[in-house]
Subunit: 482 residues, 2 copies
Amino acid sequence: MAATVTVENLNPKVLKCEYAVRGEIVIHAQHLQQQLQTQPGSLPFDEILYCNIGNPQSLGQQPVTFFREVLALCDHPFLLEKEETKALFSADGISRAQQILATIPGRATGAYSHSQGIKGLRDAIAAGIASRDGFPANADDIFVTDGASPGVHMMMQLLIRNENDGILCPIPQYPLYSASIALHGGTLVPYYLDEKTGWGLEISDLKKQLEDARSKGIDVRALVVINPGNPTGQVLAEDNQCDIVRFCKNEGLVLLADEVYQENIYVDDKKFNSFKKIARSIGYGEDDLPLVSFQSVSKGYYGECGKRGGYMEITGFSAPVREQIYKIASVNLCSNITGQILASLVMNPPKVGDESYAAYKAERDGILQSLARRAKALEDAFNNLEGISCNKAEGAMYLFPQIHLPQKAIEAAKAAKKAPDAFYALRLLESTGIVVVPGSGFGQVPGTWHIRCTILPQEDKIPAVITRFKAFHEAFMAEYRH
Amino acid sequence: MAATVTVENLNPKVLKCEYAVRGEIVIHAQHLQQQLQTQPGSLPFDEILYCNIGNPQSLGQQPVTFFREVLALCDHPFLLEKEETKALFSADGISRAQQILATIPGRATGAYSHSQGIKGLRDAIAAGIASRDGFPANADDIFVTDGASPGVHMMMQLLIRNENDGILCPIPQYPLYSASIALHGGTLVPYYLDEKTGWGLEISDLKKQLEDARSKGIDVRALVVINPGNPTGQVLAEDNQCDIVRFCKNEGLVLLADEVYQENIYVDDKKFNSFKKIARSIGYGEDDLPLVSFQSVSKGYYGECGKRGGYMEITGFSAPVREQIYKIASVNLCSNITGQILASLVMNPPKVGDESYAAYKAERDGILQSLARRAKALEDAFNNLEGISCNKAEGAMYLFPQIHLPQKAIEAAKAAKKAPDAFYALRLLESTGIVVVPGSGFGQVPGTWHIRCTILPQEDKIPAVITRFKAFHEAFMAEYRH
């Protein structure tokens, strides 16, 4: 290899960045998967089960038919002129595609769009937000993005000047935030979610961490809240959200609200409230609070991760600041049009009376009810095992059980130069083919150990997952108990 | 507005970044377009003609049918099970979609893929490169990206540590490079293309600029070459390319080869050679040269800008450095699958003997031959005007004529606080509705003034564009001649 570029002379911010969701354990799993293909029977399991990432369709979840009909018709509008098409597509799928194409200049789904996304699609997204919240939303506030991640990067790039700029992030957190803060050279200011109260978010802890950071000269610029929580699965209560909004206003913080799991709620006593709805409900307007809400087509019941669609809704920023956000968006020209169309569809799905409504509702409810059952089954299974305690997954796609590892296991991990939870996850993978992410990739209270496990294996596989996990865990505990 | 975030406390790298292709003149054009809608007849023209950006389908170019067939079938694989589908799609479109779905784990086009892109699609891309170049290519070297831009950002993020790291860029250049270098906090080291020799790239000038930068303490890390040129349209000669490759090896530079216009060549005496082919032809292997080639589905005869597909092929980097590139890619999970599929299709289009071949070839050749005629017509028109000289567009999608502005026009621009070429472009827009980008957005020899104009208006509109342009230019020159 040419020696011009070495790890030693790369951007140190890149070296510092970590992203455990696709880290060491996943790379090891990919190697084992290759081994299973080339040498079947050489491992104690037949398949790798990826519970490391919220990627529902990779585990067999089917896409929502209506959405895919519209995408196919928009990709190949020639079909709309053909009689045979009526036999293959629903009437409202056809009319929706016509309607979407009519909002695209020249019906050109192959053209770069406005850098914020096609205006007509942003109108549909804004209407969906307004109908969800009961407060107005404006297409000019929407930036359609290739999934939620580029939106998060854009905001970090905008706000972080140097290592003295801090971003308050929950611990545990989805490591996109720590990775993005590292890449942009800022400082992650942690606040801890309280595992004992079901991953509660205490304003007093927020306040303490903020003041502590300020006393060290950190200019804390924003607060990240993930609701429903990732990796923790809790759904915030309304009065807690009110307190968070007031805290941001009083402290002059931008509220970065990761709301990508807004459709994923599994308990009757909780519902999703957007932070914008909460802010407007308590009388806060644009002048009170800069607020960014991130949404994605990758999550919800749709789970269309591969389409890379999403948006951010930006309110409370001055016109000159918005121009800067627009400029960053324009350097990458626009997000992909398929993802843009899908973002408009998930915010404006079939309605009562539409031909597709019954089928759409059956698909949606089937997926969400099954996810709720899977979450409960896995939670119960974890809680039935020695040395594991697991909070409820009220929402999102994950469980984050605490593993009370025996001292001997911690010592064995140390000898193997691994974090104890990474040691556990690696052993789990090698024994069962189940891939989970060690808690150390998300952050956790020092001395506690967790894993993040998705609730996404298909329902008929859940009993086998539980059996395999139980057998592994009991053997592991037996090995290291004394 | 909440005063928490102001332009004064944003990341100064964001403030410094400029991107003229979607800058002031385009924003003004969008306002005029709204005015035309709300007050028809209120302007001296009926439509805005966007010649500012290489966005063919926005101006009426039709997508290649075969590609769209395959995308629609992959979006909605249900169609593949239906008899009616055979009446609507070509046989090889259907079999190609089957083949692509078979390479996607679980046929799940809605799942996140490997962070470099789906392996089977990377295999197809690598096979296409190998067949183009006559040298082997490896799927492990391919990173599929959302268009070429994210790949460029990724490399800049990797290589730039601080303002002492420099990247050699052509002047004039496509402003993605200056924008990305500014966003990542590095230094753009310019080298000038020679307008007199048809935008020739002189190694002696490269050498001089490199040494000059080094003498100022700049660590020059990479050389950007855009071939065919943007905004300049020249196609490099083979021996010139050999010299560039040798220069990079001798000077220890990464060669960043923007090869997105590889299919856009309009003259018989030039052909496209990839830099990898050139390097391998003169006996250079991985050890000699770190080389990145960028390709996009947005350009060529396909012009699928809205699909945001592309790839970079990375050779000559050590395994630990490649791991870092993989890590950055993994933080954004993967590029969109529709774009991934399309990137595999443009590198592996229908072949002689396939049912679609004749129709595909007619569409491809029709577009490329028409682009060649449009390039020639516009070039001739520019050269027939007083005070304009224009090099040939040998390739790409642009002309970059020099406008020899009268002194009085330069003074009027100064009084209006505009760069003289921006003043000219603004007057052109306001008189004709034609949108071009001032040369100052790309860089130019100080004291010279240019505009970049695409060759993309549909062929039947070219005479009217020329007539409108000529009338404006003659009136402008008459106004400012003395």
